[in-house]
Amino acid sequence: MPTTIKIDPVTRIEGHLAIEVTVDTVGGKQQVVDAKSNGTVFRGFEAILKGRNPLDAPHFTQRICGVCPISHGMASSLNLEAAFGITAPDNGRIVRNLILGANFIQSHVLHFYHLNALDYIDTTGILDISPWGPRYAAPDMVKGATASTLVNHYVKALEIRRKAHQMGAGIGGRLPCSPVFVPGGSTENPSSQQISDFRTLLTEIRQFIDNTLLPDTLAVAGAFPGYYNIGRGCGNLLAYGVFDLTANGQTKLLKRGRYTNGQSLTVNTSDIKEYVKYSKYTAASGNLNPSVGVTVPDAAKAGAYSWVKSPRYLNLTHEVGPLARMWVNGDYTRGISVLDRIAARAYETKKIADAMDGWLNLLKVGAPVYQPSTIPSNATGIGLTEAPRGALGHWITITSSVIDRYQVLTPTNWNASPRDDSGQLGPIEQALVGTPVANIKQPIEVLRVVHSFDPCLSCAVHMVRPGKSNPEIVVHSRPSI
């Protein structure tokens, strides 16, 4: 008898990702036979921007997500620059790259130690990791000295994460939601002191990456070699590329491209369409390129099980993320699996941090960071970049100098997408099917596959919530009705 397991943090937050898998025994092996990835967030944010000044886009889109606001700042700035027909001066481009780089580092470091590593090591008796428990227990968890080392590094990683934040905030004005990202460049012109402070923090972070993050990643991989053969998924990879090294964006640290059916190919965004057969939007919201995207909810739609649309490239499912970027760039091509995603993320952290040191040398104190412009009365734009967890695109149509249409296609939109109109499963869904599950009451294997993608939905509602233990609540004042 197949059993359905649902992993759903519904008790915690709204606007989250829930994973439902059906487990059955096939060929004598208990495994996932079907998977459904269900995102519960409605893309109504885009509607808010209609009729507003295009310059509002970087401010509002950075509010969509609590994890990658900086990537939205970058995407919206590039989007408006394309629409306005301008490019950022070198200094402005570099400042934005440095802030985004700091964000990639902190995200990747925290993801490995907080979500990935804890799937593989038994922390019992080493560190009280509450309130992040209880975790699934599994007999294959690493114990002993390796576990102790990783747990100690977990605490160190929190400190490094804090330093990466300070590094970005030092030139980002403030984080989260940096005001520095504007079409035309950056509002911050770093002083030699700011550059020097940045380098001091970066040097310590790079040492941590070389001496701790990379060895720990290899230690986990070495203890779980089977995961090089689990969670392959669709096998197609897509990257918009990120960290422009020239004003026109033709050269990037991590280039644009895709790997489809075993071939390395170029990306043309007009080949992207979003499907909605299994998404809670009207049929008229489907089969459209994001440049003409429509998002009309239909919560009661028959057969629909997700609020996420299904983006496909030439009708094929593609995975996005660090592995896609590193693969397309030729930096990592060992394979596609749970461990390859984790390894590519770690190697990418090093690649970016090392490059950032060189970018600091290219900053010219006092040189322009901003190219002024005027808002055109009618224009369209596309802003393509990468968030730590994958390809991020913004599309704009400006009519009579205000926003007529704004569409945001996030990385988790690709990875956590539901089935498309032809029934093809989304990347995470495909990666889950075939995953062995030893104990359906402790489906740790499912979490390992899902975590390898570092999924992240829009952080819609994130309220505090009193516990169920009837805390003593002091009512301070009541509104007069």
Binding site: G44, P131, G133
Partner: protein
């Protein structure tokens, strides 16, 4: 507002969190914006107090909250009370995670405070001024009901600021 840098940290942080794209969910941010733009406490905020719009951030708040004598958080609350009710909560009153995390989004205030504890840099005192929302639909601006009580919320925050007795130099 500019980051105060790592060497010049003010002892009290007033942190407004929430999503301004979901109307009342952004109450914390709206209160901070009002405090930044209105003369309060006879014209000026004391120089030991910093205001921060934390947006929808989770783990990103680790550094801003660290090494403070007092942290005053303003946030929306999901509680069985009438909308517009203002609650004064302590960290131990908040619900904690009992499910496995799927994504990085599952970092809330409680998780971030725990991270700060592991690093021995947690704020010495934490108070949450929590407000029950009326309208969580996509949209900008507060509901009329919450708009009306913003001054009352600020009063609660100022009471907390006045309660800070012995100001100590921060660890930085």
């Amino acid at each position: 507002m500019h980051n105060d840098g790592i060497h010049n940290r003010r002892p009290v942080l007033v942190l407004g969190i929430g999503n301004i794209l979901l109307r009342d969910e952004g109450i914390g941010v709206h209160v901070i914006k009002t405090m930044e733009n209105a003369p309060i406490l006879g014209g000026q905020l004391p120089d030991y107090v910093e205001l921060l719009d934390g947006g929808t951030a989770g783990a990103d708040l680790l550094d801003p909250i660290s090494d403070r004598q007092k942290l005053i958080v303003i946030d929306a609350v999901d509680a069985e009370v009438e909308s517009g009710t203002i609650l004064r909560l302590l960290p131990q009153d908040l619900d904690t995670n009992t499910e496995p995390c799927i994504s990085m989004h599952e970092f809330g205030l409680v998780e971030t405070l725990t991270m700060a504890k592991h690093l021995n840099c947690a704020p010495q005192e934490v108070v949450i001024i929590a407000v029950k929302p009326e309208d969580l639909n996509c949209g900008l601006g507060l509901s009329e009901k919450l708009e009306r009580i913003v001054p009352k919320i600020i009063e609660c925050v100022l009471d907390e600021i006045k309660n800070v007795k012995h100001l100590e130099p921060s660890k930085n």
